[in-house]
């Protein structure tokens, strides 16, 4: 079939078809991004916490803007070259365009990567700390040991043992797995960690899964007899055995070692039993309803029963249902220190819960979070103080972080610096912003450290010039530079002080959620557009020979999409980076 109007214009519209197609698509894109921009405005206006204003490093965004605008120009030139039938020139400009797309994505990748390795934590008093977590490990006695020192790269062996100092250590005595929820990787993780500490979790008590109703003795005495028999005949071998008529019942003796396979087998039987019981229950209920309706003298609608008629399936189920425990409990001979990523565990006194509903009994050991701090944000503290009619300054002076002598000096220097700024602004009748007043970012920390090294008094006018420039730390604070390692003070935050912690991912707050949504979606458009343009560049020589006008039209369509991608970025850049 021949497709009409690929390179000639339709008479009524004056356009070739694919052009209408791309404009329809772009119109839908306007609405897609429009909705998301609207979402951004909504989130920002309704934010009940200090919005991260101008929080992103500007340079990568700026370079990316240049790159996209440049590529917009080259893609027009590529199209113009085709119109003038210059294949080589077309390839040249298209090549630059695609190269620009690559640069854009690489920069985006660097930016994302910096975010994904940057830790944020909100303390219970609403102090926000940003930084990098130190490395930590558990020593022989199961105590958490945080490596504050920088310096030598850890060996492979050490790397394996170490983990980010952002964990909760539990002195596990007993672990209870919910069979349907237990997540295999978590189970494997627990097993590996226990093994490292020379411990093996074993089943706390004999477990009987009657997966088929036929296997379940009706009489309690009979049941005891069957169970005793099973226990006796399998006393020596500690492994799960099938029993019963259809071999779908399971007996797991006490002290059987935990394995993933064991949990899976137990889960299978449990699920089967649950399915059988569901069916049986439905059948019984149906019959009860039918009987009740028939017994009902008055002709009531189906969903209504006369008063006094009760429907209770439980007493009619005897002998029909299977029976299987939904969870299994394993114990350790003596408490074993296990560490879990803080985001995976909800710790409690004596009993903690993992994300897959696994309950770990045991005391929570001292598990501070080790952080090299590269920014302190007290805006939320100040906002809450205002809301409660308190003086922010007094509230801040009473904060937990003030107990840290290093931060105390930093705060002193910051206050002195702020006083200078306030004086300066006063001349024009202006005021410092909340950001100026309550946020100490990494450039400030470096400047204060440099001032400290130079023995400058707090409030020296030179301090402002010591701030690192735009090119020192392009994607944010660099913890690998030695000077920064001294400037970014270390702090151990006790477990109970940690209110909420996250890397700089969508989880941290709505700003990062909408930032990743918008830039991620835009990035996908860049990749998609670049692939289409690359196809024109590398695989369209044949079409060019047969019908150059058709190819020019195709490139125009691809170009229109590319310009639109640029257009979206023109708004994204100021909104996300500069406002």
């Amino acid at each position: 079939m021949e497709i009409p109007y690929t390179f000639t214009a339709r008479k009524d519209t004056g356009l070739f078809n694919s052009k209408i197609g791309i404009w329809l698509f772009l119109a839908s894109e306007v609405m897609l991004f429009g909705g998301l921009f609207s979402g951004y405005v909504f989130l920002r206006l309704y934010a009940d916490y200090p919005w991260p204003e101008r929080a992103l490093p500007v340079l990568p965004g700026l370079i990316n803007t240049f790159v996209l605008i440049g590529s917009s120009v080259t893609v027009v030139f590529a199209w113009a070259s085709l119109k003038m039938r210059q294949w080589g020139r077309f390839q040249f400009f298209m090549g630059i365009t695609i190269f620009c797309a690559v640069i854009f994505m690489v920069l985006k990748g660097l930016e994302y990567n910096a975010k994904w390795h940057h830790q944020a934590v909100r303390l219970d008093d609403f102090t926000i700390l940003e930084g990098h977590t130190h490395k930590a490990e558990l020593d022989e006695r199961g105590h958490l040991h945080i490596h504050h020192e920088h310096g030598a790269e850890p060996t492979e062996e050490e790397k394996k043992r170490q983990f980010p100092a952002n964990v909760v250590v539990v002195e596990a005595e007993e672990i209870n797995f919910t069979l349907v929820r237990a997540h295999d990787p978590y189970v494997k993780d627990i097993l590996a960690k226990a093994k490292e500490r020379g411990a093996v979790p074993v089943l706390a008590d004999n477990a009987f899964f009657y997966g088929s109703p036929k296997d379940l003795p009706i009489d309690a005495a009979e049941r005891k007899k069957l169970e005793d028999q099973l226990i006796k005949s399998h006393a020596s071998g500690k492994e799960a055995v099938r029993f019963g008529d259809k071999k779908d019942s399971l007996y797991i003796p006490k002290d059987t070692q935990l394995t993933v396979d064991l949990l899976d087998r137990a889960e299978d039987v449990y699920l089967e039993a649950r399915a059988i019981n569901g069916e049986v229950r439905t059948k019984v209920l149906r019959k009860l309803w039918k009987d009740a309706r028939e017994a009902d003298k008055e002709d009531l609608p189906n969903f209504k029963l006369a008063e006094g008629i009760q429907i209770d399936p439980e007493e009619h189920l005897t002998g029909l249902v299977a029976e299987a425990p939904s969870a299994l409990t394993f114990t350790f001979e003596k408490p074993v220190a296990l560490h879990f990523k803080r985001s995976l565990i909800r710790e409690g006194e004596g009993s903690s819960k993992l994300k897959d509903d696994t309950i770990i009994k045991g005391a929570v050991a001292s598990s501070p979070m080790g952080l090299a701090v590269d920014a302190v944000d007290l805006r939320w503290v100040a906002q809450r103080a205002h809301e409660q009619g308190k003086d922010p300054k007094t509230v801040i002076e009473g904060l937990w972080i003030m107990e840290n002598p290093e931060f105390k000096e930093i705060w002193e220097r910051h206050s002195a610096q702020l006083a200078i700024l306030t004086e300066e602004l006063k001349k024009d009748g202006r005021e410092p912003t909340e950001n100026d007043k309550y946020r100490i970012d990494w450039q400030d920390l470096v400047a204060f450290h440099r001032a400290h090294e130079k023995h400058l008094e707090p409030g020296s006018p030179e301090v402002a010039d010591l701030r690192p420039g735009m090119f020192e730390g392009i994607t944010g604070p660099n913890h690998k530079i030695e000077e920064n390692q001294h400037a970014f003070f270390s702090i151990d935050i006790p477990n109970e002080k940690v209110g909420f912690e996250s890397l700089f991912t969508p989880k941290w707050n709505n700003y990062y959620a909408i930032y990743f949504t918008l830039t991620g979606l835009h990035g996908l458009h860049v990749v998609g557009g670049a692939l289409v343009l690359a196809y024109y560049m590398f695989f369209s020589k044949g079409l060019y020979r047969r019908n150059p006008e058709w190819l020019a039209n195709r490139v125009e369509i691809g170009g229109l999409f590319w310009h639109f991608v640029d257009l979206v970025w023109i708004f994204l850049f100021p909104i996300l980076y500069l406002m």
């Binding site: 202006r430 410092p432 950001n435």
Partner: protein, 124 residues
Amino acid sequence: MADSVEEIKKAQKLYILIGLVLFVFTVVTVAVATQPWLDFGAHGFDKADMTIGLLIATVKATLVGAIFMHLNHEKKLVYWVFGLGIIMGIALMLLTALSFADPIKYGNPKTGDGFYNPEIPEIN
């Protein structure tokens, strides 16, 4: 549409010029946001900075649309299709604005009383 070869040849200079203008506008946006000597309105980010930033972005977007995407001389149908898309996009923005006039949650803006005034719980 600049379809003839001569016209395209002429237009190329314009494309480069527009590209340069876009570069300059970008630098201006960043300068307004980062340089203290070019800080409009109150100190730091405020409505003035927002307005200027969005205004420049709109001008840039218009240039890209008009010149690079040839919207300055396009067929009627394209204007209809894209125009409707933009109107719908603006409607989406208005939804946010309308949410501020929510009488159920925020009450009557004139009298100040509403049907639903929850106490905001303290988070600890």
